[in-house]
């Protein structure tokens, strides 16, 4: 196999797994509230930026990551409490929360630019550096890509186990089917929704750190395209399906890297967005989703 193709494929699979992670985060809040955070990208950016900042203060990198994740998790809860919940209660349709979560994301982005400057900053190497590689079947494989892939896949599996095997995971399912019935059954729906936004934000934060690790730099505008790519993954796979998120993520990752490699690097994201519009137009329910049945 051609080296170039292989390296693109690996890069695609690796970033694709991260897109899947973002998609899972979006799915999670979609299950509990039928909403998602349009400012999710800012959380990804903020987590990576904070990690850079904290570690530059002499704190160990792993601690910096954990600290940043904690901040992002808290922000996730704030977003649920102060942007999503009030909009849902005032019942102006989807308009309200789309605009308010997007607004909060823009606010965070603006704050990050104000505090850390709008220039891209180098992201420190967490485990390996960009030059580390192993040889497999005669191919050079970047260790960073492998680590990112391993972390993303491990998290996806852990997430699936959590959703399928634990009481909380079952509760999430119950709420997604019928929040009112779940409430009557004694499931603490409010806390569950709050938790879903927290967990979703943590997933976004991890994804942000992983992408920053691969890319090497991070800047305040960094997350916006990414969350859209995560959404492309979620839609391609079928909104709400975990398996779909993984398949969609890999598909988006591989296609965009191949286009980037063979056509133009700049077309990488453009093609993914075009894919999104196409997917929504042709098969809105995605590869693994079922069409929504609604009663008039």
């Amino acid at each position: 196999m051609d080296d170039f193709f292989f390296s693109l494929l690996l890069a695609g699979i690796s970033v694709g797994a991260v897109y899947a992670l973002i998609a899972l985060g979006l799915n999670l809040t979609f299950w509990t509230t039928k909403t998602l955070n349009f400012g999710q990208g800012s959380l990804m950016m903020l987590c990576a930026m904070l990690t850079v900042f904290i570690s530059s203060q002499g704190v160990a990198i792993t601690l910096a990551v954990v600290g940043s994740l904690a901040v992002v998790a808290a922000l996730g809860m704030f977003i649920e409490r102060w942007t999503v919940r009030p909009s849902l209660q005032s019942s102006g349709g989807s308009m309200g929360w789309v605009v308010s979560t997007l607004g909060f994301g823009i606010f965070l982005q603006g704050m990050a630019a104000k505090c850390f400057g709008s220039q891209a900053v180098a992201f420190p190497d967490v485990v390996f550096n960009a030059q580390d590689f192993v040889t497999l079947f005669g191919q050079y494989i970047s260790l960073q890509y492998l680590v990112v892939l391993a972390v993303a896949v491990a998290l996806i599996l852990a997430f699936e186990l959590f959703i399928r095997r634990t009481v909380w995971g079952q509760a999430v399912h119950a709420v997604s089917l019928d929040p009112e019935l779940a409430l009557v059954q004694g499931i603490p729906v409010r806390r569950l929704i709050l938790g879903s936004f927290m967990l979703s934000s943590i997933l976004a934060g991890v994804a942000g750190v992983l992408i920053a690790q691969i890319g090497g730099t991070v800047d305040p505008a960094f997350g916006f395209d990414l969350v859209l790519l995560g959404f492309v993954a979620a839609v391609l796979g079928g909104m709400g399906s975990s398996l779909g998120a993984l398949a969609g993520g890999l598909l988006v990752g591989v296609i965009s890297k191949l286009v980037g490699g063979y056509v133009s690097t700049a077309a990488e994201h453009g093609i993914a967005f075009a894919l999104l519009m196409l997917a929504l137009a042709v098969r809105p329910q995605g590869l693994f989703g079922r069409p929504e049945v609604s009663k008039a």
């Binding site: 909009s87 005032s90 102006g92 605009v99 607004g103 823009i106 606010f107």
Partner: protein, 601 residues
Amino acid sequence: MNALRSRLSAVVADWRVQVALVLALLLAAPLLSPGTLQIASFVLVAAIFAQSINLLTGLAGQISLGHAGFFGIGAYCTGILVKTHELDVTLGVPAAVLLAGLTGWLLSFPANRVRDVYLAMMTLGFGMVFFEVVREWNELTGGTMGLPGVPSAALRTLTILGVKVDGLRYFQLVLLVTAGVILLVRNLTQSRIGRAFYAIQVSEVAAGSIGIPAGRTKQLAYALSGALAGLAGALYAHLVGYLGPESFALPRSIEVLVIAIVGGLGSIAGQVLSAVLFTFLPERLQVFAEWQFIAYGLILTFSLLVLPRGIGGLLFDAPRFIKARALTRAARLRADATALRPDVGGTALEAKGITMRFGGLVAVDDVSLRLEPGRITALIGPNGSGKSTFVNVVTGIYRPAAGQVSFGGRDITGLPDHQVATAGVVRTFQDPRLVPHFTVRENLLLGAHRQLRHSGLAATLALPGAIAEEAAQLALVEAVLALSDLTEVADRPIDTLPYGTRRMAEVGRALLARPRVILLDEPAAGLSETEMDRLAQLIRDMRAMGIAILLIDHHMDFLAELVDEVVVLDSGRMIYHGDIVGMRSDAQVIAAYLGDEAAHA
């Protein structure tokens, strides 16, 4: 506060004030510095751009997070035509408007397949795709280097039809264009098109039930909104003279959204004020410019909660959807409700063997019935027996698993709901589905939507023919208002009125849609005795007009005085068909309502 608001609205709506304002600005312009003139021109561009969001989101209810795309298409189109191909501005700008409108129309096809979150993401994606294309298409757009030297007022290189245009002339020109746009948008809002936009925002199903096609209406909204954004972009191009991809990225989409939302979606004057505010603030206040992005973020986060109707809602009365001119003209006309009599007599609706399944559940099982002109058929049965589902099948909301609905010999099975309504089969809903912010009169006029046959252009220009047609329908509305005893509350918004009044208004609206068959889904539910008498009289009037009527209700005394025949459903099957006296002693009916023992007792 309310009185003040009404005074202010009256002042703003007065055409003399409007003309005076435009004249004052035209005459005062030479006194302003070139810098101020340029900012003022930016205000006007922003005002037009905000109107495009107002049209799409405020009226038609479709969110867009990628409007900078249309703005950019307009800017680049005229920029390239005028600079590279040396066309005149008078050709470049209209071409830009057309191209952006066409793009909007094309985008409406994928956009019509999705809603809510998906629509927001799709429009966000559209903006991003546009940005990437502009950045990469070096030969055409200059890529990241941008397109410098577009003939413009700022560069003093702009000539229109051979005449040199400086900053002052350009401002005056853009002012006239803006005034024109605002006038046209207002006309459009107060026409059948504006009402249809608003109706599909509130409920596509309800709009379909009176013959308003949701799909085509949204296509029009996208095309018009795209064209307006394209116009704003084109004017912007000849204002600044340099086009770079960064000017058409996400922040521009966000900015116009902020302007439109703070201005108050639906309020035209609010948008203009908001455009003034958000263009002058960053220019005049250094602090604001520095914190602009953060401020926009906070405003978007909280404005819909703090000030849901924006500046417009704060300062002015809610917008109205009928032209004052049409109302004055209608007041001089007199119409008789008998004019609503169906013009083609003798057509019956026939449903044969209708079966409807939801998964494993058979909601309607092999039901056949015939609705004759001038006859009232009651459809009754316990809750969940399939009555509403049957109505949904007949009116095209569901496609039946088996069976056929024909009307006047024509097969209408599986036609989309608005076509069924256009054929003359109109229904009301179990829960009244009116447009809450519309007045009673506006709601009723909405029913006459498909009787208004003048073109969109005529409506937008408020041509005499369009006004005359609208006035004629308004006279009929007046007659129906009298018939349903709603004249007193005609100008009150429907959401301020009691439930019974809303029910009557919904029946009235259905009547104005010129039904040949009307299907009333529990119209008497929740009505008081007097309201019920009034409704019964209205239904008798409709029968006298020769309309075929299907009446779903549980109230037996109400039905007994009215109906000609009764059909009883139980678990989706038809268990009785005959007169109401026979039904009372029918064993199966008694069993369905009271249980088996009662039937054997």
